[in-house]
Symmetry: C2
Subunit: 204 residues, 2 copies
């Protein structure tokens, strides 16, 4: 059986998204460019980490990763990724709204899970077989997995920018480790490229 | 002329100290052990980073680094470090209270600066000559330097623990990057040992 991993890109101050998330702006007031440039514009320099994300046998993602500001009950919405999403595997989307599975090209099928993170991870684990299950974000879903002790490996991709959102404690953004109780992790590896620092931790 | 560096140890969620700082507990409710074990218990594995801290020609530190929960006007208080502090150089302590310089053994003299961070950095720079000036923390002093654009190099030492303090947005702890406006930094190097990950950034 594989392990449960999570990949999350944040600013130096831990923000994975800003306030005012909406469909055309899934990272809210936080600029998407510095946060994900390492993956979308500099994928070759960061090839091992991109491969690490996409190598899972199944994925779990929070609702806002699929449809920020819009419900999955909007049946016209088929995700951000065009007709052939990069996952090539089953993706279990956490939501409060039932929806039939959505089969895309290239092996990606979005399944909508209404009974919580643990149930989504169980279904993903069954689908992944011997391969890993990857939590694809966002920060609040990763935090929920850390809180519940369900995560084996955290892969934290830190963009070299300060968000400025932490100026306001009532920021409304989504911040890694918020609400996660005190605990230790085991540092496994670090690597940096000009656009990101990759930090990997295992369950402590 | 040297540059202005800052060294700060925090948890994964960026806390350099917890609430309820006081003299016998300078890191407040945040456990000192995992935060600074890399330096005090595993100094050999982290020798380059310890040397990096102590290699400066002069230091600037926030008041709580010198005398959390106690005023420097308490003339019996001579700092945490015994009669021979590890700095072996002038240390400029930010405070609101005048106090005569305090000369210790081994070349450390504490100077108490009441006219702010920029003045302290100027005095430290004059004292350091060709060598670097190091901001020795805490997080709120590092944040002030980042805010004012006074920092050339940030050396962030991340302990592999989550503080749990971010569960409460009114946490009262001191968190790196809080109140720092949006800006980019240049990643210079990363290194990890079992007890800490060392991240170095330059002015972007």
């Amino acid at each position: 059986m594989g392990i449960v991993t999570a990949d999350i890109s944040t600013t130096l101050d831990g923000f994975g998204s800003g306030p005012n998330q909406r469909l055309e702006r899934p990272f809210g007031d936080l600029d998407n460019a510095p946060l994900h440039a390492w993956m979308f514009e500099h994928g070759e320099e960061n090839a091992p980490e991109v491969a690490g994300i996409l190598g899972a046998g199944a994925f779990v993602m929070g609702r806002n990763m699929f449809s920020a500001g819009r419900g999955p009950w909007d049946l016209e919405w088929r995700g951000w990724w065009g007709e052939e999403p990069p996952y090539h595997a089953p993706v279990f989307v956490l939501t409060h709204h039932e929806r039939a599975p959505l089969e895309m090209s290239g092996g990606t099928t979005f399944h909508f899970v209404t009974d919580g993170l643990e149930a989504a991870l169980e279904r993903a684990s069954a689908a992944a077989g011997e391969r890993n299950v990857a939590i694809a974000g966002g920060a609040s879903t990763v935090n929920a997995a850390l809180r519940a002790g369900l995560l084996d490996e955290l892969r934290w991709h830190v963009a070299p920018v300060v968000s400025g959102l932490a100026a306001d404690r009532a920021h409304g953004g989504s911040r890694l480790f918020d609400g996660v109780p005190a605990h230790g992790l085991e540092p496994v590896s670090v690597r940096h490229t000009p656009h990101v620092t990759h930090l990997t931790y295992r369950r402590g």
